[in-house]
Symmetry: D2
Subunit: 305 residues, 4 copies
């Protein structure tokens, strides 16, 4: 059996207006997810604004999440920084805090190739006694984890799974096929909008940022696919696609950046889960007009009365 499966949302990190972490809201975010039946938590991912937080804050976020989870679901921790040794440092902290696994991207800022990227994962594996999940997110790091790179790392045990946020579902399908004999390896999609499809292809889970806004929706979708009711799964996915339109409201920003996470935070505030929609600097939070549009979409899909 793969080590991790199911709905594993990248957990939003709520902020106070002074940009410190709002732990009371964070607790509500975590309880809301666990209560909805998610199968794991991924803290300190891109949706968590991981890259804005320094090492002590990351440690505190990790410890808080693990304390709240309290063994009810596994906690994966993003250890995202540009280079190998900095990733190892974060990984050791995550290990000490009790993380169940760490999520690692290719190096960034510096330009590396596939061979150096393979070494990057190997060095981390050698240094840290925790399961490593490869995180393929070329829009942020400027390099695609090629099929051969992922499969090489998986076959030698350097990684236990893949989180694919590249949008290249065909490539994910080939990775799953290459690894079909290995019953422990898993592939998850970072997509919010083709989850039914990618699960039907054989993916083992989903890591949807939008799951912070509607975790029940993604759990329902997962359960429908597990039950083989793909028609109902499609209907639920299409409802979630309508909800996902919130990420395009703030047209002056990229949906891969503050327009996306900013919309999630704004929706979560409207739903009473978190206190502010503050974004880490220099990102701009959605304004009142944009909030009105978010709320209209929340109403249209039945999340807001």
């Amino acid at each position: 059996m793969p080590m991790f499966t199911g709905v594993v949302p990248p957990v939003v990190t709520p902020l106070n207006e002074d940009f410190s972490v709002d732990y009371a809201s964070f607790t509500r975010v975590l309880e809301n997810l666990i209560g909805a039946g998610v199968h794991g938590l991924f803290v300190l991912g891109s949706t968590s604004e991981v890259i804005f937080h320094d090492a002590p804050t990351r440690k505190a976020i990790t410890e808080h999440a693990i304390k709240i989870a309290n063994g009810r679901v596994p906690v994966l921790v993003g250890v995202i920084d540009p280079t190998t040794d900095r990733v190892i440092d974060h990984s050791l902290t995550a290990k000490a805090a009790g993380a169940d696994g760490v999520v690692v991207t290719a190096p960034f800022y510096t330009r590396t190739n596939q061979a150096e990227t393979i070494d990057h994962f190997r060095y981390i594996k050698d240094a840290v006694d925790l399961p490593i999940i490869a995180y393929d997110i070329p829009v942020c790091v400027g390099l695609k984890l090629e099929r051969k790179t992922t499969v090489t790392l998986a076959r030698e045990g350097a990684i236990v799974g893949l989180k694919d946020s590249s949008g290249d579902d065909g490539n994910l399908r080939y990775v799953l096929a290459d690894m079909a004999e290995d019953k422990q390896f898993f592939g998850m999609t970072g997509s919010e909008i083709v989850v039914d499809s990618v699960l039907a292809m054989g993916a083992h889970g989903v890591v949807p940022g939008l799951g912070n806004v509607d975790p029940h929706g993604y759990v329902k979708l997962w359960n429908l696919v597990q039950a083989g009711d793909l028609a109902a799964a499609r209907a639920e996915q299409e409802r979630l696609c309508k909800l996902f339109e919130i990420v395009w409201i703030s047209t002056g920003r990229t949906s891969a950046g503050s327009a996306g996470v900013g919309a999630f935070k704004t929706a979560m505030r409207s739903l009473g889960i978190i206190a502010t929609n503050t974004m880490a600097r220099p990102q701009r939070a959605l304004n009142d007009e944009e909030t009105g549009k978010v709320d209209a979409i929340l109403k249209s899909v039945g999340l807001l009365g």
Copy 2:
């Protein structure tokens, strides 16, 4: 007068085989540059492998460089990390160490737009009492500092100059034209191979990684342009272009990554300036065969006997 002008190389950071900084070699690198007559030092730039070093190591590198420079030339410090507050932290450290200015890129990993990038520089300016130089390096950060962004920041005093590593010399020319009335603003090019041209357009300096290998060449080139002898400047530039071919020797890597800095380090080892050509993990150093090709080029341009 602009605050900084002339040849300001991004200083290579020599490493021991265990990846710690080799300070004895670093001293030689710095003395070699100052002795050749460079006009400033830029430590912790991309060529310095800044992104691989943690905060304590960056602090030590900065302090060592400032101690060695000892006021002979100004020392600019790269404060390169993905997000605003992390950059501010590095900047405060640089300030405390006695830096003459800090060099700041756009945010990276996270996707931001031009407006958020302008805010990024403003927040740093508000927090740190040091001259800020904008560093335009889209190949590493995934965003171009547009002409309007740079000029907006320059006119309001948030930045004192621009280091342009975008390769878009036409855009730099427009920035220089827009800022022509401001006699303090400066624009420098990060190019190694069109320095004569960009200086002839009115740029105020050059930040050549290759200057670590042949600082006398770039100082000579600068002096020839200042003296108005553009024909001789062109001849010297063409000699340096031949030398720059070392960055394409290691064909399996990108010249913007370990093939480039790795070649500089390999050449500097052959020239007796540094002890190893070790690269920070996960980058691979050039091998013996590649070293042979570097040495052949060094001989062809008269640097190696």
Copy 3:
């Protein structure tokens, strides 16, 4: 009902060694497809090497295909050239030859925006009395047909459907949702490897280049999805994914270019459908060693004894 649905392969154009069209082989290609039960033919698409053929040759290819089809299945004709009026000329020829519809890309070589691209389709619609299918293929034309562009054109009746070769299945899903009320509009995918998924999302057809090699496979896949047997559809898709590996054999070329179509032609030659694997100049055909690897894959999926 949508005007066109089902499996509509882009028909390979076989060539003689002197680069003229091999009509005897072409007849076999067409009969092989029709005999396998495809629901339509798309001649003069990218897979047909359309861009290499001049107007008289395109006319002859169109007429030949329509003559062979003889009303058994509809024939769509690619009218692919860089600019509006040249596309109109090809469209009028296709109309005169009896085509059932024309397939139109965004302008290329020249750089246009979405508004000009909308005008492009409108001008063609005004000039030609034939159903127009928009062809979204950014890898070839350098511009993505954005969701809003496609939906604008569809709602005003300028296009009757979309062939999506952009790889952005999420975007296709949104276009299908936007057009859900219009029972005549159709969306097809140009993918070979996620067809089961995209059909399960609600797409109305598939335009697989690989269908030239194994039309029975794609017809079977279509029928399984229509019958609601998604598990069996997935198994058939996975067999076709194995076959699709032929496009990566020729590593020196791009799979979107001669490596892909060249592999299809090589496989079809091995299967006795066409006489040569000649590619239009300056593309290079696969060589003997590469042919051996293609044959091995054909055997592994049961197509070759």
Copy 4:
């Protein structure tokens, strides 16, 4: 001596409001250029909207230009179409019309690699007895002519020169260095805004679209560089840079497309050279408000009273 040197503008093709070529205006364009002292004419380039014109119109444009030039300056003809044999057809027409050379891009729409691109030029060379100039314009064709590709073709005599519209001046410099022993080879830049620099590097000419608006400016710039007065050349270049700002007036379009050529046409209409600013479909001409801004720039640089 290189076969072609100096200022060789890509000649704008004026259109009537019905999109036919306005030959009376075209004659004025040509006479305006020749009268200003340009050293050659490049008809049917990107700036000429070549890609919008069919073969008979291209033939007529070529013949008209050669008739008007009447041997006063050489006439180069762009033979721009996606694939080899179509380029050969245009080249044979150009030869028959008396062209002095043809200008050839890499294939486009289809995806080819460097090796196939080399073959493309070789096939054309074999078929056409005319000097061939390679045209490097990746923004339009999606492929960069790499240094090695260009030098291979130049050394074997398949091309006599390079027109570089890639913006990569460093690469052009290396091509010029590689070919320094061949006194017949020439490299020209397609830039409007760094002409002084690229000529100072050793380039043999310039192909400025903006030369249609102000040919005297570019001839003056050329003469100043030839006379070694680089300071005065820089001043003239900077005046032309101010004029070039017209290409960014129409912000809804790309400056590489209708915003650029559209601005040239609009300026030429204001200067009385051509009758309309009509653009080939589906491009949009600049409107009255944009024309006002173009005129203001024309006045600011002294071209309009």
